[in-house]
Every structure is written in C-alpha cells, then in structure tokens.
C-alpha cells in the first residue's frame, strides 16, 4: 500500500509543481511522510442487497498499528453508493461481543429503521444480524455510524453517496469522497473518563504564566476577570491533537492520502466530518472551493477559500485545479492542535507544502453569550453588565431571537432605549448606538420594558469607567432563560446571545480570505414546506465544563426529561440558544430543517447545524411521524447527556 518514494518521480513532480514541495524537510515533524501518497479510493458497496460486517480489526495510521472497530475490514467503513428511487436492504452482521447499531445519518426513512438503540429499535445484539430495509428518496452526500456507546470513535463510520434520479445540476468531471475523522490510540472510554475527572485534561494550549510574561494571549486584567468567572478562554476543544490523529479517509497526515485530478477538471469533493469531537477548518491553499451542497442538498454555488464544519456536517465543493501541481488539503482542528492532511495531485507521489498550524483562538465575550454587547469599538473588558442590567430594569425579558441582528458587527441591535443619543454615543465610545427596539417588532420585544429614560447614563464616558464587577453574577441569571432547569449542570446562561449564522466560525474571523458562513448558503430548490411555523420551541444548550455535564435546558437525557413534542406535518420553529462557551453541532434524526437566515423559501436545508459559542440558530422543521433522536453530535457531549427524544405523532394519537 505505502509505496517506496520514486525519487525521479518526486523531482519531476516538484519541478512541475513550480513551488510545490515534495521534500520532507519542508514539512513539520508531524507531517513527515511515511509514504509518498496513497491514492486509494474507498472500498465501495452498492446494489439493493448489501452486507456490512461489524468487527474488531487493526488499522495502520502513519505507520502505527491501532485497534479499531471497522466494517467489512475497513476504516472508514465502505462507501455505500446508492441511487435515488431504489430500495435497499442492509444486512448488518455484528461480529462484536457487544451490541452495535448503524444510524444512517441524514437519510429520510421510517423511524424504526433509523438505528438508534432505545429510541428506534433495541440495537443489534452481539453476534447477531439485523436487516435494515427502506426506500431511498433523496440524493447527495451522507454518512453512517454506530449509535451504540462510543463505537463511532473507534472507527465505526463510513460515507454514503446517493446519485440523483434526475440529471445532477452540479457538473463535474471527477469526484472524491473526503471523510475527515479523529482517531485516538486510546480507548474512547479512557478519553471520556479523563474528561469527567479533569475536563481540561487534553488541552495543552492553556494560558500560562510564561505566556503572560511573554505578552501572549489575554492581559493580566482579562485573565483575572475570566478567572473570576471560572471560564477558560483557551477551552476551544475538549479532546485535542494531544491524543488525536486527524484522518482523511482513514489515513494520517504522514500517510498523505492523495486525490488525483487532471488540470482543468472540475473535481467534486464530498467532505464529511465523521469525527467524534472535532470541528474542522477546511481549506486548500491556492485553490478556491465552490460550495454546491450542504448536508447532502444542493445550494446555490458560493465560492470560498475556507469553511468550518462541525461533526456530522457535510459539504460538497467543486474545485478546478488549473495547474499540473500538487495542492495540500488541510483540515485543521478548531483549536489548532493538529490537522488532517491530504493532497490533491495529478499523480500519486506528489506533495505540496503543508502550512503550519495557525494560532489557536481564545474565546471572546461573544463566545460567552455577550454578543449583544460587543460594540466593536468598545472595550469589552470595561463593560459592566451588571450595572447595565440594573439600569435597564434587568435584561431578563429580552427576546434573544430579536437580539440576533447584526451578528456581523455585533452592535446591540434590536434594542432601542429611546432616550439614547446615538450621535453622542457614536462619537464618545461607539457605545450603545444601534440599539433599537423597533416599534415594528413590538410583539417580539414585548417582554422588555425599558420605560423611557432608563438608559440616559449610557454614554461613552461612563461606559469606560465601568468594570466587570457584576459580570460573574449575570453570567448565570436564570431569568434570561426561563426554560432552563436550574442546577449544577448549568454553568452559565448567555446573557445576550446573538444569531451567529453570519459568523465564519470560532477563530476564523480574521484569516484574510473568504470563509463560508451559514448566511452564504441558499437552497437551489425551493423549500418543500414554506408555511409559517405554528409555534416556536426554544431550547438552551447548557453545560458545566467543570463537571463535564452537558444537556438541553439544564437536563441530561438520563434524567428522563419530557420529549420534545410535534404533530406529524406540523411546522415549528426551533431556536437553539447556546449557553455554553463551546460550539455544538446539533442534529435531528429523520428530518431536514430550514435555517432561518433571511432566505425566505430558499432557506438552506440541513440535518446538523453548528451553534457557535454563546450564539443562537433558528430553523423551521416539519414533523415526520416517529420517535427521533435529537442531540449534540460531539460524541462525548451526547454521552454526557446532551440528547433528547423528539416525539412526532399524528394529531389524533398525540395524547394516547
């Protein structure tokens, strides 16, 4: 498999590449090649009758043996290639000594075939076979994985590709499936156990005294302020490159999996984030990508240079490499602790320069749910939320959703303290301008009573003098989230969360090139259901990093919370409010939802959405009968309790 480097070929490749580098000396230690590149396509299964054998196996990563749970002897599991309109029977043979399951991520199917033990079916017992059977009624890029225990982390995941019945609106000459994942040489229960005992265990990029003395990261003042709140701004990823090797199609960065192309070809890359805990920043330096599908469904083409995606999201991108040279495909972990790396090249054995890891981001006030207070020119550190709360008669009644405007600039939109002098604030501090209650949206803002003249003191001077005194208090004000059950599982409540679908993702704000945001996405086809939602469901994503507890509305699934109820065919709006400082990829089984990003009847439709730290996301969804899983797709967040059952019943049966 791993070929001996053909030196002549490499030299030829290097000279042809014109700057592309094939020599290992130019690469960081972790990217030193152990092979000249592996242009091995994924093993593929197709047809109406498919057998998948789940078993323990060994796999080779960067020249090192690792235990894994694979399917049909491979990790990732084989590519299942189907055609829209066909029926499929999938015989899953469990050769493990424990229960397993397969969930078909993103597929629309009868709920009892959805593959979640305890919700859809009882699981597939050890040493037994289970047959899934359902019609294929969609097309696009999807994936499948175990929903039992932590098997997904051990390699139990694979891609699904469904060819459309009608001609594909996306034209391409060649395609590659790119399955990104995170692999550990440790057992996943070990990883989870460490997180439970010491949540910062895997973070080797925390702020330090040496860093402070060297002038890195936060200032002493900021550190003290964050310390007072017991919040670690360096907590960007729970499990990091310190124990993960990031894989492309099962190969490590040194293996250098290679996707072939001919210059000038339109190459369709089907990216799947099949990782357990890793949000990836994906880019191909020197090669713009045109996003043509998100979560399997076509979107209007949008050209970007980089995108961030959370676990379980998928994007299809078209690239047209113009030159006879190699390009590096980089999947950098959101905390910059490591990267998945592959190469796009005209020929096996070529390589391009691997960019160094960029500086890891630190969480900001916006990530703490203070987005509504981020005034750009204002010194965040100097802002007293407590005092503001007092002055405004407590921010409690504030409609989060309505606060969401302008995540981009982060002004305090949607709030109008009518006595405020915008002009003055603007010149003085860039202060509270941009606050507008908008009489037009009185309904949404009804809960907010600012009276008149409550905020006259909000001028720049006073703002500057305020400190963070009241902050720690207001970071856990349950009147900001009446839905949330108060308890040890809720460390913080975002006081002023904003819609962050216009943000490029944590750490990608200033990378100097075009980064995809959810607001760039627009469905190619008109949404199938364009009715107004009949009601809104607000769900808070809550957690406690110290105890490593995660849940919705302050409750873990193990506490038997009520299911989220919908009627079959009912149209509802779900607003997710992230009360934590981490991004959460939220996934609903058996449904596509339409993101509320101002795209009307052409909303991008997804099955998983990454809710940025301290941010909100709204989507509309139409109930499909069944009991469905709804959860954070960070595997250990789900394992810690961040999951709910969505119960969708026909109208007459709802109260059975």
């Amino acid at each position: 498999m791993s070929r001996v480097l053909d030196r002549r070929q490499v030299l030829r490749g290097a000279s042809l590449a014109g700057g592309g580098l094939a020599l290992s000396a130019y690469m960081p230690a972790w990217a030193q090649p152990v092979s000249a590149g592996i242009a091995k396509p994924l093993p593929t299964v197709s047809g109406e009758d498919i057998t998948l054998k789940v078993a323990h196996q060994m796999m080779m990563i960067d020249g090192r043996q690792s235990h894994a749970i694979g399917i049909n002897g491979t990790v990732p599991a084989p590519l299942i290639r189907l055609r829209e309109g066909q029926n499929v029977r999938l015989h899953v043979v469990n050769e493990l000594d424990e229960e397993t399951s397969i969930h078909w991520h993103g597929l629309l199917l009868p709920f009892q075939m959805d593959g979640v033990p305890g919700i859809a079916f009882p699981g597939i017992p050890a040493r037994s076979t289970f047959t899934y059977e359902f019609p294929i009624i969609q097309s696009g890029t999807y994936w499948y994985h175990s929903h039992s225990g932590l098997q997904e982390q051990e390699g139990h995941y694979g891609p699904i590709l469904i060819d459309p019945k009608n001609p594909d609106p996306v034209q391409f000459d060649r395609e590659h499936v790119i399955v990104l994942s995170d692999h550990s040489f440790h057992h996943p229960h070990y990883l989870f156990d460490r997180l439970k005992k010491e949540s910062g265990y895997f973070n080797r990029q925390r702020q330090t005294l040496a860093g402070l003395l060297a002038g890195k990261d936060q200032s002493l003042k900021e550190r003290l302020e964050w310390g007072k709140m017991r919040m670690d701004p360096a907590d960007v990823a729970d499990v990091t490159g310190s124990v993960y090797t990031y894989l492309v199609n099962g190969y490590g960065p040194k293996d250098n999996w290679t996707a072939l192309f001919r210059p000038g070809e339109r190459v369709r890359l089907r990216f799947i984030n099949a990782s357990s805990m890793t949000t990836f920043n994906v880019r191909i330096p020197g090669l713009p990508m045109t996003i043509v599908a998100a979560d399997g469904l076509n979107v209007r083409p949008v050209e970007i240079d980089e995108f961030q995606f959370g676990p379980a999201e998928t994007y299809d991108a078209i690239v047209t490499p113009p030159d006879l040279r190699a390009y590096t495909l980089v999947g950098e972990s959101v905390d910059r602790s490591g990267m998945a790396r592959a190469t796009l090249a005209p020929r096996e054995g070529m390589a391009a320069e691997v960019p160094p890891l960029r500086k890891r981001p630190l969480a900001t006030m916006k990530d703490m749910g203070m987005g509504g207070m981020d005034h750009g020119t204002m010194d965040h550190g100097a802002m007293n939320h407590g005092a503001m709360g007092g002055a405004a008669g407590s921010m409690s009644g504030m409609d989060h959703a309505a606060m969401g405007h302008g995540a981009g600039t982060g002004a305090m939109p949607g709030m109008d303290h009518s006595q405020m002098n915008h002009g003055a604030a603007g010149t003085a501090a860039g202060g509270m301008a941009g606050m507008d209650h908008g009489q037009a949206q009185g309904g949404a803002m009804a809960g907010m009573d600012h009276g008149s003249g409550t905020m006259p003191a909000m001028n720049g001077d006073q703002m500057g003098g305020m400190d963070m005194g009241g902050m720690s208090h207001s970071m856990r004000d349950f009147s900001n989230a009446p839905e949330v059950k108060k308890g040890p599982g809720v460390q913080t409540i975002s006081p002023m969360p904003v819609d962050r679908t216009g943000d490029p993702g944590q750490g990608l704000e200033n990378v100097g090139h075009r980064v995809l945001t959810y607001r760039d996405l627009m469905a190619l086809d008109r949404n199938p259901d364009t009715r107004a939602p009949e009601r809104e469901i607000k769900l808070h994503l809550t957690g406690n990093m110290e105890r490593y507890m995660w849940g919705f509305d302050g409750e873990k699934l193990s506490e038997n919370p009520d299911p989220i109820t919908l009627l079959h065919g009912e149209r509802v709006r779900v607003t997710l409010i992230n009360d934590t400082m981490m991004g959460h990829p939220i996934h609903i089984h058996g449904h596509f939802f339409d993101l509320v990003t101002g795209k009307g009847a052409y909303a991008p439709r997804k099955h998983t959405v990454l809710v940025q730290p301290g941010g909100t996301v709204s989507w509309d969804v139409t109930g499909e009968e069944g009991d469905w899983a709804f959860h954070c797709h960070m595997l250990y967040h789900m394992h810690a309790g961040m999951m709910r059952v969505v119960q969708v019943r026909k109208a007459g049966e709802a109260t059975a």
């Binding site: 305890g118 859809a120 009882p122 699981g123 010491e198 080797r204 330090t208 017991r230 209007r300 083409p301 050209e303 309505a402 969401g404 405007h405 302008g406 995540a407 981009g408 600039t409 949607g414 915008h422 603007g426 301008a433 941009g434 507008d436 908008g438 309904g443 949404a444 856990r476 599982g489 819609d499 075009r514 627009m522 364009t530 107004a532 809104e536 110290e546 849940g551 699934l557 193990s558 506490e559 299911p563 109820t565 509802v572 709006r573 101002g598 795209k599 009307g600 009847a601 052409y602 509309d620 009991d627 789900m638 394992h639 961040m642 999951m643 119960q647 019943r649 049966e653 709802a654 059975a656």
Partner: protein, 401 residues
C-alpha cells in the same frame, strides 16, 4: 429619479456625520433626510418578476463585499432603485442575494454599506431589520406581510402537544426489548454513568531537621454528577517513629451548584491517641479565580468542635509545569488536652510545590512546606518535648486514577 433624490439625501449624511452613520442601528431610526418611495402600485407584477428571476441560472456568488451597483432588472420591484450606496457600515447581508428574488426587497443593493448589520435573521421578521419607518424625512411603504414566505415568516403561538406516554418503537420491536434498551442503551449511556476518581494531591517525602518524615492528603469519590460517596484521608509521620496523625472521612457529597459540593459524614482519627470519631459537615469546590477550596466542621463523640480550611491554586508556568501554593489551617473551639489540641488556631501549614505534568495522572513534584502550631496546641506539644513546626523540603507525586 427617486434614486437620485435618495443619493442626494444620503450623501451629505454619510459625508458629514460618519459617526452617526457608523453607529446607526439597522432600523435607521433618527435618520434624517431620507426619502423612500411610497407604497408600490404594481404588486402582482413584482411577483411575476420574482418568478422569472428564480429561473435564471444561479451565478457563483462571491462572499467578498461587492461594489454597489444600481439595482437593475427588477423594474416591478417596489423597492427597486433604493441605492443606499453612500451609507457607511451597512451590510444587508440577508438581502444581497443576487439571483433569487422571491425576496420583495431584492434590488435594494445596499452592499456597499459595509459594516452595518441589518441581517434579516433572528427577529423572524425579515423586514424588522430595516424598518425605516420612523426616519425623519423619510417615508417608507408599510410592511408587506403578503410578500413574506417560508423562513421569513414569524412563528405563531400554538400550544405544544402534550407528550404521549408510549413509545412508538414498542409496536415494531416489542415493549420488553425496547424497555431494556431504553434503560441500558439510552438512559445509562447518555448521562447516567457512574464515575470514580482516586486522587492524592500530596504523597510526599519530607526532608527536615530532626528526622525526615512523610505526608499524604488524598480523596476518592464514586457516583454520578450530583450524588457521590467520598472518602478523604490525610496524615503524616516521621520515619522510625509511630504515625503521628492519620484520619479518614467517609462522606456523602452532593453538588449544590456548578462548582460546590456539600459534604457530610463521619471522620475517624486513628492518631493521635486517643482516637476520636467526629460528625462532619463541610463544603468543597472551586472558588472564583480557580481556587480549590475546602472547609469543614467536626463534632467529636466527646462534644469537642474542630474546624479546618484548606485551599490551593494551580498556577501553570507552562502547559507542563504547574506551581501549587497550598494552605491548610486547623481550628479548635476548645482545649482538648487528651489529643494535645488547644483552642483557637491550632496549626497552619503552607506549601509551594512545583510539579511536572508529563502525564497529568502521575505528576512528580518538589517543593517546600512550612508548618507551625499555635497557642495552647504549641504549648501541649512543647510539654511533650516535640517540635512545633519548621521547614521541610518535599518531594512526591501528585497522582490520580
């Protein structure tokens, strides 16, 4: 014509009062000098235009901000031709889709108003973001609810259906199989697991004048996130002599909030002699500023009351070296001559330990420790001919598993 007027109105605004424009909220309240056309007459036409527009092939849209372009094509669009390109810091991101003009506002090319967020999201009302109705000198058509569609529509307030008590999967796979799966695969695997930890913060050799000794301070717990059974133990001694102090506590621990646990149970002192049993209540947790803090009260079987406060802070020098200052103080409400305890502050221990966390579970350390007894406690000790404190150099391992 209208556009020209608009521009004329806007230009001085943008030029003369950039500060105002910059901080202007997207509803554009208080925005003088802006005129918008009255309500459009040709609404059906707008729809037709929109329809044809959607049929056009979607161009590749670049995300970089584009120059303002005069709105073209949407002749029937009621808002067409509002070129607000002179406005600063305005980004009607939700509105600048080039092709799909289901959006009744398409054609307002506001793309050259960088920095002004009027995105159409969270308010659920796509128009809310740019309500210009109260702008002085500016007339706006009223809201156009008929034109809103799909995700632009606000939600109603229908009540949620009550949860059904049954489980649909029971009908397919049997109630028994599903009940067991719900317990084992679902509840227990999603937040219901039991975790344990055994941690020795101190386990060390103490080099000091008058005989080297040893010291330990550890804790073990098992349970869920809220309720835990906790064991604690600490003690010390001098090599070649009998154990000087040794105690063990068995506690029920309950999480009070995200950081603090209430702990109650019993403490048993093996040493000093005579041994004592205490009822214990205390708290343990993480104080603001990342201080690990512990405080407890003890009531002995003889009616004596003792107290203890302990705290440490882990200062990361780098991501591998951690400096831990630590303090422990013991108190007594009364003299207990049998155990050599005097009333008030009985003893204080302060230490500074530098550990290497190559592996966090097994971190060797070196440091210094200073101990001193006070008041009657010191007097009792001196009477026995023992030392009442001093410095030690320490070396040990902070370990947990």
């Amino acid at each position: 014509m209208i556009r020209a007027l608009l521009l004329a109105g806007m230009a001085p605004l943008a030029l003369a009062t950039p500060a105002l424009a910059q901080t202007m909220d997207h509803s554009m309240h208080n925005m003088p000098g802006m005129t918008m056309p009255a309500k459009p007459a040709a609404k059906p036409k707008a729809k037709a235009a929109a329809k044809s527009a959607t049929k056009r092939k979607a161009p590749v849209r670049r995300t970089a901000p584009r120059r303002a372009q005069p709105a073209k094509t949407q002749a029937a669009d009621p808002h067409a031709g509002h070129d607000m390109s002179g406005m600063q810091r305005m980004d009607m991101s939700g509105q600048q889709q080039a092709a799909p003009t289901q959006n009744p506002h398409a054609g307002h090319d506001m793309s050259a108003m960088p920095g002004m967020a009027a995105s159409t999201d969270a308010g659920q009302d796509p128009h809310a973001g740019h309500d210009m109705s109260t702008m002085p000198g500016m007339t706006m058509p009223g809201d156009q609810p008929a034109a809103k569609v799909g995700t632009d529509l606000p939600p109603g307030n229908k009540p949620a259906p009550a949860p059904a008590g049954d489980h649909l999967a029971d009908r397919f796979w049997g109630a028994d199989a599903m009940a067991s799966s719900r317990e084992n695969d679902l509840r227990r695997e999603h937040g219901g697991m039991t975790v344990y930890q055994i941690l020795f913060n101190l386990a060390e050799y103490q080099a000091r004048k008058g005989g080297d000794g040893y010291r330990w301070d550890g804790e073990a717990w098992i349970g869920g996130d809220i309720n835990r059974f906790t064991l604690k133990s600490e003690g010390e001694g001098t090599f070649g002599k009998p154990l000087e102090q040794a105690e063990v506590q068995a506690l029920y621990s309950r999480a009070l909030d995200p950081y603090w646990n209430l702990q109650a149970g019993v403490r048993y002192d093996f040493k000093p002699n005579p041994s004592r049993t205490y009822a214990t209540v205390g708290i343990e947790g993480l104080a603001p500023g990342w201080f690990e803090v512990e405080g407890a009260l003890f009531l002995s079987d003889k009616g004596d009351v003792l107290g203890r406060a302990e705290g440490y802070y882990d200062q990361r020098i780098t991501n591998w070296f951690v400096l831990q200052p630590r303090v422990e103080a013991n108190f007594s409400a009364q003299d207990v001559p049998e155990t050599g305890t005097g009333s008030g502050l009985t003893d204080l221990e302060a230490g500074l330990r530098l550990r290497y966390e190559g592996r966090r579970e097994f971190a060797p350390y070196i440091g210094v420790s200073w101990e001193r007894q006070f008041g009657d406690t010191a007097r009792f000790t001196r009477a026995r001919g023992d030392k009442t404190g001093g410095f030690s150099f320490v070396a040990g391992v902070r370990t947990w598993f």
